[in-house]
Every structure is written in structure tokens, then in C-alpha cells.
């Protein structure tokens, strides 16, 4: 029964991974930009939540309402200044620029908050759980994370499928030059995509801050998880990213059950196996433009 429990916990953990990976998936999908600062930006979100709780006394979950527009604004600025310029250079430029950005962000956070681990306190909620069967208990907080992850992915999917701007984003992803011939300003679309991506990773950051302790360097691990979720799911597919997050989550918790000292080993092995046997991921985009 402890295995069933591990699977359930893993599926819930997948919600957090999906939340972390959704923005990465969106940015890569829309502008083929590999954002190596994504993990560090999640931690920026976590610190924003932390500072808001400390300074204003906002309830931890209410900070999300403030973190979303702040991160979106950072994303818009970042894209319209630094990243749009980098995208116009050769292919390696965006990777180097986002790598450099990650280093800068880490060091700024280190200066501001020292290397001490922090976390966002939610009191009793952290340990609250619902007993399903004698052996399986679902934590209220992991369940919330999972539900938010699914809602965010579903909302983003609907936005891309149904709205005018969402269609413009997909058109730009398919063929940037043809999209400009439709009157679409691709720089604006890119800025919007990054704003959305950072808003989502900001939510993920607050959940990370509540779930666990973090410091300036915690982002690296999450960046790897986010990449793995995106690649397992298939590049460009949001539902794939959710599935990828859940597979990764289950592999982590089941792996921890097998080898308590190295829980993420199994997750990495699953990722490697997918990379070898299904290099396009589980749900590759059907169309290759």
C-alpha cells in the first residue's frame, strides 16, 4: 500500500512540476527560446512571496495575487529589452544571455537575503491532510498545488486555442514572418508570452516557498525538473508538460521509496529512457512546420 501512496503523492507533486515547466514550455513553443534563468526566476517569485508575507502580513496564498502582476511586468520588461535583442543574434545568444541572467539573479538574491534558507510559513495547513484509505493520506497543500497546476495549464491551453491573441501567438510560433504579414507585432507577442510565462513561474515560486526551504541557488534543481517535464511531455505541448510533470513526480516519490537517499535518481533515469526511446516526448506536436 505504501507504493500506492507513493504514486498518489507523486501525481500531486507533478502538479508543481507542471506549474514550473508551463512557462518554459510556452517560451520555447512561441519563440524557440531556451530560458536558462527559469529556475532562478521561480526563486525570485518565492522571495517576492516571502517578502510580502514578512513586510505586509498578507496571508501566504494571497501573495500570489501580487506576485502574478509583478512577475508579469518583469517578464514584459525582460523580453522587450534584453531577450528580443538576444533573439535577433545568432542561435547561441539567447542561451548565453539567459544563463548570464540566472547568475546575476542568483547573486542579487544572495546579496539581499544571504545564503540562509527561508520558507513561507502557512501554519497548520502545511501538515493538514485528508485520509482516503488507512494507508493513503492526501496532503491538503499538495492537493492545492496540483489543482492550481491543472487549472493554470487548462486556462493557458484555452487562451491559446480560443482567443485572438492566443491565435496570434500560435501563428507566430508556426511562422514568424508570415505572422507579421497578418499585422502581428511579434515583439509584442514575445513580450506577452514571457509575461505569462513568468507570471506562472511566479505562482510556482510561491508554492515552492510554502512547500520547502529555499535559498538563492535553489532554482538550479527546479530548472532541471522543469526541463525534464517539458521534454518528457513533448516540446510545444502543454498537456504533455502536465503529463511529463506527473510522470516525473511519480518517478521521484517511487524512487524515494526504493532508495530513500537518492530519490531523484529514478526520475532522471526515466527522463533518460524517454530521451533515448521517445526522443520527441510522449505527446509531440502533431505538425512540424
Amino acid at each position: 500500500m505504501q507504493w500506492a501512496n507513493a504514486v498518489v503523492q507523486g501525481l500531486l507533486l507533478g502538479g508543481l512540476y507542471a506549474l514550473l515547466a508551463a512557462g518554459l514550455s510556452l517560451m520555447f513553443g512561441v519563440m524557440r527560446l531556451v530560458n536558462l534563468a527559469h529556475g532562478a526566476l521561480a526563486i525570485v517569485g518565492a522571495y517576492l512571496g516571502y517578502v510580502l508575507v514578512q513586510k505586509t502580513g498578507l496571508p501566504p496564498f494571497a501573495t500570489i495575487i501580487v506576485v502574478i502582476p509583478l512577475m508579469a511586468a518583469i517578464g514584459w520588461l525582460l523580453q522587450s529589452t534584453l531577450l528580443n535583442t538576444a533573439l535577433n543574434k545568432q542561435a547561441l545568444a539567447p542561451i548565453l544571455v539567459t544563463f548570464g541572467l540566472a547568475v546575476i539573479l542568483q547573486n542579487v538574491m544572495l546579496q539581499l537575503f544571504t545564503a540562509d534558507y527561508r520558507s513561507i510559513q502557512v501554519g497548520d495547513l502545511a501538515g493538514a491532510s485528508i485520509q482516503i484509505t488507512p494507508d493513503i493520506a492526501i496532503g491538503v497543500f499538495p492537493l492545492m498545488t496540483f489543482v492550481v497546476g491543472v487549472i493554470v495549464i487548462a486556462a493557458l491551453q484555452q487562451y491559446l486555442a480560443r482567443t485572438k491573441t492566443g491565435r496570434a501567438m500560435r501563428a507566430t510560433s508556426d511562422d514568424r514572418e508570415a505572422a507579421t504579414l497578418m499585422g502581428i507585432d511579434n515583439k509584442r507577442i514575445y513580450a506577452l508570452a514571457t509575461a505569462i510565462a513568468l507570471a506562472i513561474v511566479g505562482i510556482a515560486g510561491v508554492f515552492i516557498g510554502i512547500k520547502t526551504q529555499f535559498n538563492a541557488y535553489s532554482g538550479d534543481t527546479y530548472l532541471i525538473f522543469a526541463f525534464e517535464a517539458v521534454i518528457i511531455g513533448g516540446l510545444g505541448s502543454l498537456w504533455g508538460t502536465l503529463a511529463g510533470g506527473m510522470i516525473l513526480g511519480v518517478a521521484t516519490t517511487v524512487g524515494a521509496q526504493l532508495l530513500p537517499s537518492s530519490g531523484t535518481l529514478l526520475a532522471d533515469l526515466v527522463f533518460l529512457a524517454i530521451l533515448v526511446f521517445l526522443p520527441t516526448g510522449l505527446f509531440p506536436k502533431v505538425v512540424n512546420g
Binding site: 491565435r167 500560435r170 510560433s173 507579421t180 504579414l181 505538425v287
Partner: protein
């Protein structure tokens, strides 16, 4: 007054000059066909008008205003729409979604989903098909429809007949009078001279980046066109 004036433009790809001091003008409501062999500079000309290339010298004026430095997405709201060579449909989107994207910066006018489907019966029952899975003819019809969705004053058509079966080319060209009847000015680029002559009020023949012959279809003889086309 001319709606579009191209004033002695030079266009380069790196060191290679594709257009040499070319000029042309199109009046409102007129249909101009630009013909010429491969490499004559036809597509480069259209791309320069749409804003994908910028001329190194010379000017492009639309409705009296210079647009030579305007990026392509700012030319669409003025009423310039290009159906690019190779159609360039958005492959992961359905035909209908492609048309809707065409209306991203739509001006008021007669064109909407309904009137596009009525003009191109070829795609009216293919609305929910992915563009990637549509036939060449369906893609071409949809690409023209997509350009119309913004209600352009000037429609630029690049190589409509390329790679399509003659019967499909017929069907697509049959829709052109419906478009010009709305008062839309059309600049069509073609290798298929016969089709171009049939629809055009005026013809301009290019050879290696320069205009070598101009006139109305009725005043030009077959031999004149043949020698201008091939440069013999």
C-alpha cells in the same frame, strides 16, 4: 492618384542586387500583373512593398505617404496584404483559424469568414482541416482568403499558380473578379503569363531586376512578351 508608387528602388540580398532602380505605380481599383522568369525580381518586389525587404535606395509610397521604413505589421492596418510565395499557411492551425489570424488587424470592409467562404467554395467545407493537411489548391485559396480578411486596399498575390494543377488554378483565378469588384487594387506576380494577361488591366514584364516591357494586355503582342520574358 496612384495608390501605390514604387520609385526607382534598389533592393539587395547582402551583396547581391535583386532589383535595379525599378519603378511602378498602380492606380486605385486597377489590376497590375508583373510577369517575368525565375529570378527576375518579382517576389523581391512584392516583399519590398509588404515590408519584408527594405530598399537600399528609392522610395515606396502608399496613398501618397512613404512607407519604405515601416515594418510589415504596420503596413497591414494601412491596407496592404500579401499572399506570399509558397502560401506560408500556419500549419498547426485549421483553415478557419488561419483566416481568423488574417483578420488580426482587420479594417472595416466586405470581407469576413462568410464572404471568403462564398468566394472560395474550395475551402468552405474544409474549415476545420489543419492547414498542413490541406491540398495545395485549398492552401492557396485559404492563403488568399487570409489576406482578404484584413480588408486590404492593395492585395499582393505572389505566384498563385505555382505547383497547382491547371484546373485548380482556373478555380482560383475565377474568384479574382469578385475581389476586384469590391474595388480592391490587385498586384499579381506570375510566371504563368496567360493567366496574368487574362486578369490584368496592365502588365509589366521584369528581366533580371529591371522593367523591360509595359502595356495593356491588348496592345502587347505575343512576340513582344516572349522576347521581354526571356530577354532575347
Amino acid at each position: 492618384m496612384a495608390l501605390l508608387e514604387v520609385d526607382s528602388i534598389d533592393v539587395f540580398y547582402g551583396d547581391f542586387q535583386a532589383i535595379y532602380g525599378m519603378s511602378l505605380s498602380v492606380d486605385e481599383g486597377e489590376t497590375l500583373a508583373v510577369i517575368g522568369a525565375n529570378g527576375a525580381g518579382k517576389s523581391t518586389l512584392l516583399k519590398t512593398i509588404a515590408g519584408l525587404n527594405s530598399p537600399r535606395s528609392g522610395d515606396v509610397r502608399f496613398d501618397g505617404t512613404s512607407i519604405a521604413t515601416l515594418p510589415p505589421h504596420k503596413r497591414v492596418p494601412l491596407g496592404i496584404a500579401l499572399t506570399p510565395e509558397g502560401r506560408r499557411m500556419f500549419p498547426s492551425m485549421t483553415i478557419e483559424e488561419n483566416l481568423l489570424v488574417g483578420a488580426h488587424k482587420a479594417r472595416p470592409g466586405p470581407w469576413n469568414l462568410e464572404s471568403v467562404y462564398a468566394t472560395f467554395p474550395l475551402i468552405s467545407d474544409r474549415r476545420s482541416r489543419l492547414a498542413n493537411n490541406a491540398s495545395g489548391g485549398e492552401q492557396q485559396a485559404a492563403a488568399i482568403g487570409r489576406a482578404l480578411m484584413c480588408n486590404p486596399r492593395l492585395l499582393l498575390l505572389d505566384e498563385v499558380s505555382l505547383g497547382l494543377a491547371p484546373v485548380v488554378v482556373q478555380q482560383i483565378y475565377a474568384s479574382l473578379p469578385t475581389i476586384t469588384a469590391q474595388g480592391t487594387t490587385v498586384l499579381v506576380v506570375e510566371q504563368d503569363v496567360m493567366h496574368a494577361l487574362r486578369v490584368a488591366d496592365r502588365v509589366q514584364c521584369l528581366l533580371e531586376g529591371r522593367t523591360v516591357l509595359e502595356g495593356t494586355p491588348s496592345e502587347l503582342t505575343r512576340d513582344q512578351i516572349a522576347s521581354a520574358y526571356f530577354g532575347i
